[in-house]
C-alpha cells in the first residue's frame, strides 16, 4: 500500500525518542558496558612502524606471565584467499580484512595489529603486550597519495597490479584500480566552451570520530557455540566477517547488538570480534576487548584523503558544456577507497552533455579507510562545487542561477549511467531562492557561500517482524542497528498502519538468531528499506486482524474495515457489530487462530536519491586566519520526514561533521610515518561552541517507491559543507582556499601570499 496521499496521524509528528531516557540517564548498554562472569581482558599489540616486515614474533615471555591465559598471532587464524566481500558498506576483500585484523607478513601502518593477549586484568594484559618480542625489518614507507603513485614509491603489495588498465601492468604498484566514466565527447565540449575554469584541490582523511570506541565481548563455548556482544552498524555483518575469518559456520555464531555510540559508516567493518573469539576459544573464558581512543585513531578507518582536479567549460550564458575530473583517493593500507562513488557523485547534480571522470584507488601506509557518511561524495563535491563557484565568478553570474541553469532534473542521464527519476533537486534550489538567508544582507567583512550535494541512498535486504502482544500493545523488531532514530521511525510507520498511537509500539533491534537477515545500517537505507519491511509486516498483521474480526462476527473478510486501530463492519450491509480494537482481538487470539504476528523480508529497490544545498556565512579574522561560521542553513529533499526532529538532527549532524572536515580535522604524520595527533585534543573535531545553530529546512518531494515517500537523509548533509565554507571564505577575502582543512595557518598564509 502507498500512504503518500493519505492523511497521516503518526508519521510526520515528533514523539519523544524511545531511546532517549536510557541515553540521557546513562543507563543505555553500549558495547563496553557488557560483562561476563570470569571474563578476561583482551588487548592488541600494534605496530610501532609505518611499514615493516615481521621477521619474528616471540610470545614465550608473555605466555609465561602469571595471569595471561592466551596469546595469539596471525598463525592462529586460517589463511584466507583473495575474495571480494559484500558484507559491509564499502569494498572489502576477505583476505585483506583478515590481514588487517592480524598482520601476517608485514605491518602496513603504525597501529597495525600483529598479536593479541587475554589476561585476568587490563594491567596484566598491558604488561604481556610489552613482553611480546617482535623483530621488524623496517621498510621505506609512503603516506601521501601523490607520493604513493610516484614511479619509485615503496610498494606495499607485491601482487598489486593496477586493475582497470589494458594491458595489465607488468610492474606492481600502489595503484589498486583505475576507474573511468565518460559521457559525450569531452574534447568537443571544451572546444565549444567560451569560458573555462580549472582547479586543483586536496582533502585530508577524516575520522568518523564516533564517541564510542570499538568494543566487544565474546564467549566461545566448549560446544563450539559462540556469542558476541558488540555495537556495530550490522550485527549480521559481524557474524559474516567473524565466521569467514575464523572458518566457522554462521549458525554457530550469535551476535547481540549493543546500543551504538555513533558509527557514521566506520562500524560497517570489524577489527576486534574475530580476535576476541579466537582468544576466548584458546583461553576457555569470555573475552572482553575495547579500544582506547588512540587505538581508534591509529587502527581504525578514516575516510580517504585525496587530490582532485576539476576543469569546467561553459557557454557565456552559463550552460556547462564540458566537465572533467581526476580523483586520486587514499585507500589506506589495502585496496578499496570509495573512489567509485567519488567519481559518480561530483557531477551528479548537473545535466551535462560531455563528462570525463578518472579515478585512482591508491594504497599507502595508513589505516585502511572505512565508510564515512556518503563515502567519496564529499571529497568529489568539494572540488566540483568550488569550481562551479569559480565559474560563476568568471561568468559574472549568480552562483544559484548558474546551478539552476545546469541542474539535474527528472530524465537527466548521469555520466555514470542511470537516469535521474523522482528527484527533488529543482525544488531544493527553489527553496534556496526563497529562504530568507539567501537574500539577507551580508554584514561587511563576511562572505556567503553556496554548495549543493548528491547521494544515491540505497535499499537492500531487510527483515522486520510485528507482534501483537496479548494486551493489544505492539512489538516491532528489525535487524537494523539504530544509529539515527530508526527505532522511532519504524515504530511510527507500524503505528500508522495499525492506526494506534506511536507509544503503543515498542521497537527493538533483534539479534542475529532472532530475525531474518538484514544488511548493515548504511547508505541511508534503514528508514527506506527496513521501514518498507516493517510497513508490510504491519499490513499483514492488519489483514490478519481483519480476518480475526470477520471470524468473530462470522462475516466475510472483505466486509471488515480497519480504521483507527479498530475493526469495523464495512457499511450497514456487513451487520451491526461493535468495533473490535487491538486489545479485544488480542484477548481472543487463542480462540481465533493463535498468536497474531508477521515477519517480512524485502530486498528494497527504488531508494530515492537525495539532494541538498547549504548556505553559509563566514567571517575571517585576517590577522590570525581563523574562520568563524556566522550563519548556516541546510536545505534538503528528504522525501517524507517520518520523524522530522530526527531528520533535522541528521542534517545538523552531517553539517557539523562537514564543518570539522572543512576547517580543522586532519591527520598529522611525522617523517617516520607515525601519526602525531591520535586524540581529540589535537585531532580537532568542532566543539559545540564552534558550530552555530544549523537551520535544517526540509523539502518533501515524496519518493513513490516507499510507502510513506521516504528517502534516505543521513548522508547528503555531509556533502556540501566543505565547498559551501570555501566559497564563503572566497566571498569574505577574495581568495580560493583549495586545500582542506582551511585552518588558520593556511588562511593566514594565503592572505599573506596575496599581499
Amino acid at each position: 500500500m502507498n500512504y503518500i496521499d493519505s492523511s497521516l496521524k503518526v508519521v510526520g509528528t515528533r514523539p519523544i525518542r524511545p531511546d532517549g531516557v536510557d541515553k540521557v540517564t546513562g543507563r543505555a548498554v553500549f558495547s563496553a558496558d557488557t560483562r561476563a562472569s570470569g571474563m578476561l581482558w583482551g588487548k592488541i599489540k600494534r605496530s610501532p612502524h609505518a611499514h615493516a616486515r615481521i621477521v619474528s614474533i616471540d610470545t614465550s615471555k608473555a605466555e609465561a606471565l602469571p595471569g595471561v591465559r592466551a596469546v595469539l598471532t596471525s598463525k592462529d587464524f586460517p589463511v584466507i584467499a583473495s575474495e571480494e566481500a559484500f558484507v559491509g558498506e564499502g569494498p572489502m576483500n576477505f583476505r585483506d580484512l583478515s590481514d588487517n585484523v592480524m598482520a601476517r607478513n608485514k605491518v602496513l601502518y603504525e597501529g597495525h595489529a600483529l598479536a593479541a593477549v587475554a589476561a585476568t586484568s587490563q594491567s596484566i594484559a598491558d604488561r604481556a603486550l610489552e613482553l611480546i618480542e617482535v623483530v621488524y625489518e623496517v621498510l621505506p614507507h609512503v603516506i601521501d597519495v601523490e607520493d604513493a603513485m610516484a614511479e619509485n614509491a615503496p610498494v606495499l603489495h607485491a601482487d598489486m597490479f593496477t586493475a582497470g588498465v589494458n594491458p595489465k601492468p607488468s610492474k606492481a604498484s600502489n595503484i589498486a584500480k583505475v576507474v573511468t566514466f565518460k559521457k559525450g565527447d569531452i574534447d568537443a565540449g571544451f572546444a565549444e566552451a567560451e569560458v573555462i575554469v580549472e582547479g586543483s584541490y586536496t582533502t585530508q582523511p577524516v575520522h568518523q570520530a564516533y564517541i564510542e570506541p570499538h568494543a566487544c565481548l565474546a564467549t566461545y563455548n566448549p560446544d563450539g557455540q559462540i556469542t558476541i556482544h558488540a555495537s556495530s552498524q550490522g550485527h549480521f555483518m559481524i557474524r559474516a566477517y567473524t565466521a569467514k575469518l575464523l572458518g566457522i559456520d554462521m549458525a554457530n555464531i550469535r551476535v547481540n547488538p549493543a546500543e551504538i555510540g555513533g558509527g557514521f559508516g566506520g562500524k560497517t567493518l570489524i577489527y576486534l570480534e574475530p580476535v576476541a573469539v579466537a582468544l576466548s576459544r584458546k583461553a576457555g573464558k569470555s573475552v572482553k576487548m575495547q579500544m582506547t581512543r588512540e587505538e581508534v585513531f591509529r587502527g581504525s578507518g578514516p575516510t580517504s584523503g585525496a587530490t582532485v582536479t576539476v576543469k569546467l567549460g561553459a557557454k557565456k550564458d552559463g550552460t556547462i558544456v564540458a566537465a572533467q575530473q581526476v580523483l586520486k583517493f587514499q585507500a589506506g593500507a589495502y585496496a578499496g577507497s570509495p573512489i567509485g562513488p567519488g567519481c559518480m557523485c561530483g557531477f551528479a547534480m548537473y545535466d551535462l552533455p560531455n563528462v570525463d571522470v578518472v579515478g585512482y584507488d591508491v594504497v599507502s601506509n595508513r589505516p585502511k579507510v572505512a565508510a564515512y557518511r556518503a563515502p567519496g561524495a564529499p571529497i568529489s563535491s568539494f572540488a566540483v562545487e568550488c569550481a562551479v563557484d569559480d565559474l560563476a565568478v568568471k561568468l559574472g553570474m549568480d552562483p544559484l542561477t548558474l546551478r539552476e541553469k545546469n541542474a539535474a532534473k527528472n530524465g537527466t542521464k548521469t555520466h555514470y549511467g542511470p537516469t535521474h527519476t523522482n528527484i527533488g533537486f529543482e525544488q531544493v534550489l527553489a527553496a534556496v531562492k526563497t529562504h530568507p538567508h539567501w537574500s539577507a544582507p551580508l554584514p561587511a567583512g563576511q562572505g556567503r557561500g553556496l554548495a549543493v550535494g548528491f547521494w544515491f541512498n540505497i535499499g537492500g535486504e531487510s527483515s522486520a517482524t510485528v507482534h501483537i502482544n496479548e494486551d493489544g500493545s505492539v512489538m516491532a523488531a528489525t535487524g537494523s542497528p539504530d544509529i539515527g532514530g530508526s527505532r522511532a521511525s519504524i515504530g511510527m510507520m507500524v503505528a500508522e498502519v495499525l492506526g494506534v498511537p506511536a507509544t503503543r509500539v515498542r521497537t527493538i533491534v533483534a539479534d542475529t538468531a532472532s530475525i531474518g537477515y538484514t544488511f548493515v545500517t548504511g547508505g541511508s537505507r534503514v528508514t527506506f528499506a527496513t521501514g518498507m519491511a516493517a510497513t508490510q509486516a504491519a499490513e499483514k498483521v492488519v489483514d490478519e486482524l481483519k480476518r480475526r474480526a470477520a471470524q468473530t462476527w462470522d462475516i466475510p473478510v472483505d466486509a471488515v474495515e480497519w480504521k483507527d486501530g479498530m475493526a469495523y463492519p464495512a457499511g450497514s450491509n456487513a451487520g451491526a457489530f461493535e468495533p473490535l480494537d487491538l486489545a479485544a482481538l488480542a484477548l481472543k487470539q487463542a480462540k481465533t487462530g493463535g498468536p497474531i504476528n508477521a515477519e517480512v523480508s524485502v530486498n528494497a529497490q527504488g531508494a530515492g536519491a537525495g539532494f541538498g544545498a547549504h548556505i553559509c556565512d563566514v567571517e575571517v579574522d585576517k590577522e590570525t586566519g581563523r574562520v568563524e561560521i556566522k550563519r548556516y542553513t541546510a536545505i534538503q529533499d528528504v522525501g517524507k520526514a517520518i520523524h522530522p526532529s530526527y531528520v533535522e538532527g541528521q542534517i545538523q549532524g552531517g553539517a557539523a561533521q562537514g564543518i570539522g572536515w572543512a576547517l580543522s580535522e586532519e591527520y598529522i604524520y611525522n617523517a617516520k610515518g607515525l601519526m602525531e595527533n591520535p586524540g581529540f585534543l589535537d585531532y580537532r573535531c568542532p566543539v559545540a561552541s564552534d558550530v552555530p545553530m544549523i537551520e535544517a529546512v526540509l523539502v518533501e518531494v515524496p519518493n513513490p517507491r516507499h510507502p510513506f515517500g521516504a528517502r534516505g537523509v543521513g548522508e547528503v548533509p555531509i556533502v556540501p559543507p566543505m565547498a559551501a565554507i570555501s566559497n564563503a571564505i572566497r566571498g569574505a577575502i577574495g581568495l580560493r582556499m583549495p586545500d582542506l582543512p582551511m585552518s588558520p595557518p593556511k588562511v593566514r598564509a594565503a592572505i599573506d601570499a596575496a599581499g
Binding site: 594491567s123 596484566i124 598491558d126 604488561r127 590577522e623 590570525t624 586566519g625 581563523r626 576547517l663 580543522s664 598529522i668 602525531e676 595527533n677 585534543l681 589535537d682 580537532r684 568542532p686 566543539v687 561552541s689 564552534d690 585552518s743 588558520p744 595557518p745 593566514r748 598564509a749 599573506d752
Partner: protein
C-alpha cells in the same frame, strides 16, 4: 603491576619529609588534572604521590599587605569566583579560567599549571605578567621565588625533589593598573594555546604606561617574560606606533618550533597579533573602559 603509594599529609613538614624520603619518582598532586592524565597515558609512573590539598593554606585566597595570596592548590573555579581578584587581576583570572572544562576547573590550580612546566600553559603567562612570587617550601626551608624562575624547560622546574609551592603572592595594585591574557586556539575552547600572551600595565592619568610586564606562551621551551615588549610600552600611550613596535618586539622575542599545533612562521606572526590585542584590553581595563571578559 606497579607499586604506587599515595599520601595526603596535613602539614608542610610531613609533606617535605615524604618527598625527601621517596626512593623513586615522587610527584606532588594538587588538582591532578595533568598528573593523572599523564599517568593514565603511561607517560609518568610515580612511586609516590603526595597530595597537598589537606595542608592548611594550600587552598584559599587572602589579602595581605595590600596584595593577594593564593594557596597553591586553589581550584580555578574558586579563583574565578573571587570578586577582589577579578577586579585587581582580571587577566590572571581569565587565563586560569581557560584551562580545561568546567569539571577540570573544579580541580586545576596555578601551582599545577606552573609546575607542569608546559610552555603552552594558559595561566603561566598571566602569572609572569603579574609579577607573582612563589613561596616554595622544602627541607632547606622556605624561599620566595619569582614565578618565571620556576620552569626551566618543558616538564622541568627549578624545584628540588623535596620542594613544592605553598602559595603565590601577588603584589599590591597601584591605581590604573590592570592585566589581560589572550591565547590563540583553532577552536573556541577545549584546546591548547598555539600562542599565548599576558600583559600587565600601570598607566598614568593620561593613559601613558608607567610600568609593564609582558609575557608570551607557546613560542619557546618555557613561557617567556619579554622585557623588550614592556620597554616598548613604558612611557607611551597605546597609539598606532606603539602597537606596531609591540608587535615587532613580540615577533622578535618569539622563538617557536614547528609542531602539530603550529608552525614557526605562523606562531611568530600570531605572537605579534596577540600582543597588540592583549595590550589593548589591558590598557582599556586600566583606564576603566573595559570591564567585560576577553573570551
Amino acid at each position: 603491576m606497579s607499586n604506587l603509594s599515595y599520601a595526603a599529609p596535613t602539614s608542610v613538614d610531613e609533606a617535605v619529609k615524604l618527598l625527601a624520603g621517596a626512593s623513586g619518582l615522587a610527584k606532588v598532586l594538587s588538582g591532578g588534572t595533568d598528573l593523572l592524565v599523564q599517568m593514565r597515558a603511561g607517560r609518568m609512573q610515580p612511586e609516590l604521590i603526595v597530595d597537598t590539598k589537606k595542608i592548611p593554606g594550600l587552598i584559599g585566597i587572602r589579602e595581605e599587605n595590600g596584595g593577594f595570596v593564593i594557596g597553591a592548590a586553589t581550584p580555578g573555579a574558586v579563583v574565578e569566583a573571587h570578586a577582589g581578584l577579578n577586579k585587581a587581576w582580571p587577566g590572571l583570572v581569565e587565563a586560569l579560567d581557560l584551562i580545561g572544562s568546567t569539571q577540570v576547573q573544579g580541580r586545576c590550580s596555578l601551582a599545577g599549571n606552573l609546575c607542569n612546566a608546559s610552555p603552552a600553559a594558559d595561566s603561566v603567562p598571566a602569572l609572569y605578567a603579574a609579577g607573582a612570587v612563589a613561596v616554595v617550601v622544602g627541607s632547606a626551608g622556605r624561599r620566595e621565588v619569582p614565578v618565571e624562575q620556576i620552569p626551566t624547560g618543558p616538564g622541568r622546574t627549578s624545584l628540588a625533589k623535596d620542594e613544592f609551592i605553598l602559595e603565590f603572592k601577588l603584589p599590591p595594585r597601584p591605581a590604573r593598573s590592570s592585566d589581560a591574557y589572550l591565547r590563540f586556539i583553532p577552536r573556541t575552547e577545549m584546546d591548547i594555546a598555539v600562542v599565548g600572551c599576558g600583559i600587565s600595565v600601570t598607566l598614568d592619568a593620561n593613559g601613558v604606561c608607567t610600568a609593564a610586564r609582558c609575557s608570551l606562551g607557546a613560542v619557546a621551551p618555557t613561557v617567556l617574560l619579554v622585557q623588550a615588549m614592556a620597554d616598548v610600552l613604558i612611557g607611551h600611550t597605546l597609539d598606532a606606533d606603539t602597537l606596531a613596535k609591540l608587535d615587532a618586539a613580540a615577533q622578535a622575542a618569539a622563538k617557536p618550533i614547528t609542531d602539530k599545533r603550529g608552525t614557526v612562521e605562523y606562531r611568530t606572526k600570531v605572537a605579534g597579533v596577540l600582543a597588540r590585542r592583549t595590550a589593548a584590553i589591558a590598557f582599556d581595563r586600566a583606564m576603566g573602559k573595559n570591564t567585560g571578559k576577553a573570551h
